[in-house]
């Protein structure tokens, strides 16, 4: 199984070296690709000087477009499994094997690392957990799947779903939206327990004040998916 780890990076100059070093020492047999989403800081220069494997986008596309670049890359180089792995140190590379396992066994096409199954490690704020619970509820009603950590960006994707995501990947609220898109197109989804860390440095892309607004918009987006269906195939 050829495994590719996609690391989206936007202004991650402080974290990216640690992330990649941990990844390569923990999982030496997987490839990785950093997608530098037109960072304002010197993320690109750091990738270059450390000899990392990276793609640098000339225009900032946001997290959805960045991740999708990784999927396109995975299609072009024929990878069997793609892992989404944040560049900010939140995700722990030692769980990659447990994410890949259900795909190897053919149990699921999308495997999501959830921090709320075993409830260990960094659990985020109460408000966030409420929001994630609401999203899980929306996904359950609209997609009939039980997802405890809909906003988790730590996930593994099988080959057929990589091709699907390379063609159409949700841009606005990619984590929860991609779940419903995959589900409505008939891909199976599974969650496995992981432990996440708090960000070591830098700022999260989601501002806590905007979280409530974000949740309302994403819930509506999930509903829209249910109503409109996935016509873009």
């Amino acid at each position: 199984m050829k495994v590719l780890v996609i690391i989206p990076a936007y202004n991650e100059a402080e974290n990216i070296v640690n992330t990649v070093n941990e990844l390569t020492s923990e999982c030496p047999d997987v490839d990785y690709i950093i997608v530098n989403d037109c960072s304002q800081d010197n993320t690109k220069q750091i990738c270059e000087s450390h000899g990392f494997n990276y793609i640098s986008l000339p225009i900032n596309l946001g997290i959805g477009g960045g991740i999708q670049t990784g999927y396109k890359y995975a299609v072009e180089y024929g990878y069997d499994v793609a892992i989404q792995f944040d560049g900010d140190g939140q995700h722990n590379a030692k769980y990659i094997s447990s994410l890949v396992e259900p795909i190897e066994k053919g149990e699921a096409s999308l495997v999501i690392g959830s921090r709320f199954i075993d409830k260990e490690g960094f659990q985020t704020s109460f408000m966030r957990r409420m929001g994630i619970g609401l999203l899980g509820f929306a996904l359950r009603i609209c997609g009939g799947v039980k997802i405890t950590d809909a906003t988790s960006g730590f996930r593994a994707v099988s080959k057929d779903l990589i091709e699907f995501f390379a063609k159409n990947y949700a841009q606005d609220y990619p984590e929860p939206e991609s779940i419903i898109a995959a589900r409505l197109s008939g891909f199976s989804i599974k969650e496995v327990p992981v432990v996440m860390n708090e960000r070591t440095a830098g700022v999260s892309s989601i501002n806590p004040l905007k979280s409530v607004y974000y949740m309302i918009k994403v819930t509506l987006a999930i509903l829209m998916y249910r109503i409109v269906g996935n016509r873009r195939r």
Binding site: I55, S56, L57, P58, I59, G65, Q68, T69, K72
Partner: protein, 122 residues
């Protein structure tokens, strides 16, 4: 009722509108695909202001009291349609730009690697 002054203003305005469209087309600021709809709009407006009978008939038909209100009503509907159409155009452009950006990123990586290989062979 439509006053004479309003009619004159309407005709002058519509003529200016058509003139601007032609100027924009001439200078290449307006693609043919999008200019046609504006051009047709201008012609329709011109006819309506030259022959207010058309407007009177339509107003009577849908049961509006004043012709001016018909102009507003149809105008707002038309503008909504145009904006909706423009939104689809913007969405399409957005998709194209994203796709191009991603491909440029991947090509840039390939060029970088090929150049690196070339350097080491020298």
């Amino acid at each position: 009722m439509m006053s004479e002054l309003f009619r004159v203003l309407l005709i002058v305005g519509v003529l200016a509108f058509i003139l601007i469209i032609i100027l924009l087309m001439k200078r290449g600021h307006l693609g043919l695909k999008y200019s046609l709809i504006w051009f047709i709009t201008g012609i329709v407006l011109l006819f309506c202001s030259l022959f207010p009978g058309i407007l009177k008939y339509v107003t009577h038909l849908i049961g509006i009291k004043s012709e001016v209100n018909t102009v507003f009503f149809v105008g707002v509907l038309f503008l909504l349609l145009i904006i909706l159409f423009l939104t689809t155009v913007v969405s399409g452009l957005n998709d194209s730009i994203r796709s191009l950006t991603q491909d440029i990123g991947m090509l840039e990586k390939r060029i970088r690697e090929l150049e690196g290989k070339n350097e080491s062979q020298k």
